[in-house]
Assembly symmetry: C2
Homo-oligomer: 182 residues x 2
Amino acid sequence: MAIKESIRPGGRSARVQESIHAAVRTLLEEQDRASITVPQIAGRAGVTPSTIYRRWGDLSELLADVALARMQPDRPPLDTGSLLGDLRAWAEQYLDEISSEPGRNMMRDVQNSASIPCHCVEILGGQLRIILERYPHADSPRPTIDHLINLIVAPTVFRVLFSSAPLTVEELHRLIDIALDT
Amino acid sequence: MAIKESIRPGGRSARVQESIHAAVRTLLEEQDRASITVPQIAGRAGVTPSTIYRRWGDLSELLADVALARMQPDRPPLDTGSLLGDLRAWAEQYLDEISSEPGRNMMRDVQNSASIPCHCVEILGGQLRIILERYPHADSPRPTIDHLINLIVAPTVFRVLFSSAPLTVEELHRLIDIALDT
């Protein structure tokens, strides 16, 4: 994955990566994930399989990299004017995104990777940091990012991955209240 | 997986399943998970690959089934005489088990399955139910099993799967206190 970090935006290596990511996204829409192969992706992207193996090591790392790229937020969290409002808006959108079938598959791809799951937590933590820094003078002491991840993100993800039903919005709101009160 | 439920204990089908599970456990100790194949497992277990495909569908379902079997608790949760004590003892042992490398791989195998993740939550919920039912007259209103899963199990599992470091025992104790106070 180190290679990915050092990509010069717009450079050849970035264009090759984007064509490979695009091939994966298209194939994921066309067929069952379990049936997707590296040679198939390479064929779509117009590269050799060895290009993919050299850069990602194996298919699960590539799928995780594509999933991570999709999780990169395209805008800062909604600013509602209150810490509670911002956390609710952000958490409800996150719950929506990952409880869809594509969202659940993205979570699985991400955590099947050796290196990417932590990037995923960094992205979520970064979003939460933006929200927390909007309210430096909140009446009650501000929760830490880890606390918000443990009490809001973890149950949301766990229920999507392991339970028959995702969190309800009511459960999510209760967890946010608990995170802010403890 | 339905077949698994209907196995007659000690029957031929149970013996075949146990030999296949044993072959998987041995191979998992001998080599990298990614390199294990169904024909290899079949060879070790003395069955044909088609027996495995017929019963489990594919390798990920078999790995998940083996992981689930390993997660079946072999004894009831420790009875310490208090709800807090029982929850701490159970949660600390669970944290120990899943934050090991084999434990982490088991969690990944389980949640890569289509049908097994919910069984996993049922097992955890069953353990928590045993603990809760020991204290019918607890002073504070007893938490629900879902509440304990959201606040104690979810962060424990999430941190193992997605974070660079598992929960510390101190964090775990704090989450248990929160679960009992909210």
